[in-house]
Each structure stands twice: as C-alpha cells, then as structure tokens.
C-alpha cells in the first residue's frame, strides 16, 4: 500500500517514520498567492525596531544551498531534499533582543512557535528554492521556513515574518495538541510525549 520503501539507512530515519521519494503536500488551508510585488519579510517583535525586506532585497541577501532530511509528523520522511535560501542567522544579524522565542507567521494565517536556540547557529533558513527550482506555491512558495531538525510542521509554508517573543506562544498545531518542541528523534509528536 502506498509508496513507502524499506528503510535504506536506519540511522537517518527517526523512530516511527517511513521513507518516501515523493514530496507530499499537506495543508491546513487554501494555497495563498501573494505576488512578489506585495511580498515582504519582517523580523519584528521584542527588538528595537522591525527589519523588513522586499522580495528583491531578500533574494539579494547571502544565500546557501543545503541538502537536508525532512520529517513530517504524519510519519513520512524524505532524505536529501535540496533547498536554497537565506539562513535565519543572516536575518537575525545585528538584532538585539531579550527574547528567547519566536513565532513564525504566514500568509493564510498559519503560525508556529520556536525557541530562538532552535533557529540560530546554522539550524534554519527561509528557503525560496527547492530542487533547483523556485519553490512551488503548494510547497510553500514564494518562501517557507525550513527547520529540518524538527518535525516539518515547524517549517512554516508561506512564511512572511518572525516575531520575537519573551514568552513561548503556541502556534497553530501546538495549540491543538501537537508537541511544543517537536524533535523527531525523541518522537515528540504530541503534547506530553
């Protein structure tokens, strides 16, 4: 049933996950279609003053090509997914804050919360290319958050900004019972795991 394969390299597949070569599309709502003219990315919240980039400014930022494994809480894992994007470290450069958390917010209203320590130090990106092509809207384009060391619901599609917060504020799935942190290697799928 389905297109799941036997585990090729067990050490790369977190507990309870199945490998897939597809890239399933999961969504809690209709695909937003924000034109690049309207698009902007904002880092705001508990900082001195917000920082914003237009699309043109954003793709002119230093970018990286990365290859990472991704793990969805619905149990599929995809190895060696290739992306291009801006490191969140770059976006937070020069930002002074006492915040220890942030909320990623998106077109369509989706949110997810993260600890600052989960996004800095080369752990996360805002990605705008997948597999060498501009990121398709159904996969979160023009740009999505990419936090591969956590379950993929934290890699918010259609991301438009990061709001730094002093307190941890559960995002969409977190407030419906999904785990606040979401480490696939500890199988933190649901609250209480």
């Amino acid at each position: 049933m389905g297109r799941r394969r036997p585990i090729a390299d067990p050490s790369r597949v977190p507990p309870g996950q199945y490998l897939t070569e597809d890239f399933p599309v999961l969504s809690a709502g209709p695909t937003p279609h924000t034109s690049l003219d309207e698009w902007s990315f904002t880092v705001g919240g508990a900082i001195g003053h917000p920082v914003s980039w237009s699309w043109g400014e954003f793709i002119a930022l230093p970018s990286e090509s990365i290859v990472v494994d991704i793990h969805c809480v619905t149990k599929w894992s995809k190895l060696d997914a290739t992306w291009k994007g801006v490191s969140v470290d770059t976006l937070l450069e020069g930002v002074e804050t006492e915040a220890e958390y942030l909320t990623a917010w998106c077109d369509g209203g989706y949110t997810t919360n993260l600890a600052l320590e989960d996004v800095i130090g080369g752990k996360s990106w805002v990605a705008y290319e997948y597999d060498g092509q501009p990121l398709h809207p159904e996969h979160g384009g023009p740009a999505r958050l990419l936090v591969p060391h956590l379950y993929f619901w934290k890699s918010a599609k259609w991301v438009r900004g990061l709001t730094l917060t002093l307190d941890d504020e559960p995002g969409f799935w977190e407030s419906y019972g999904y785990h606040n942190h979401g480490d696939p290697w500890l199988e933190q799928r649901y609250q209480g795991d």
């Binding site: 969504s27 209203g109 419906y176």
Partner: protein, 91 residues
Amino acid sequence: MDALDGNAIAGELFEHFGVEMTSARGSCAHCGATTQIAELRVYARAPGTVARCQGCGNVVMVLTVIGETRRVDHQSFQLPQRPGQSSQCHD
C-alpha cells in the same frame, strides 16, 4: 490544493456527536455566516483536519488524532445546543 467539504468528515463527526451531522447548521464565530457542515471547506491532508468557513475562510473546526484520542474542536463553529435535533431535520 483543492478542498473537500464537510461530507469528508461525516464519519468522524458521527463518532464524536453520536448523530449524523452533515446537515447540521452552525454559525461561524468569525463572520457570523450560517452554514451546513457539509458545506464547510475541509482540508484533510495535514497533521489534523481543518474545516473552514466557506464565506470568510477562517478556521471553524479542527479534528485531530493525538495518540489514541480523537478530538473535534468546534469552538469557532456555534452549533445549536442539541446537535441531535438539527441533524434530524430534512429540508
């Protein structure tokens, strides 16, 4: 991706409420529109299933399976106090 509609969650809602719910009318807490559950926009390919108001697009219902627990959160979709009564109406 294309949405389904409330017919797609009929089984889950029957299990939760104990009665047939697709014809039940409720109102969206965001915009006030009244609609039958069958006409909600349902997004079923996600960590949970999300039903949205077909008028304003806001989330009105979220169905999750958390471990062994099946939950139906319909805080944003105001149903009559006795869902059983409304779902037995035939138009």
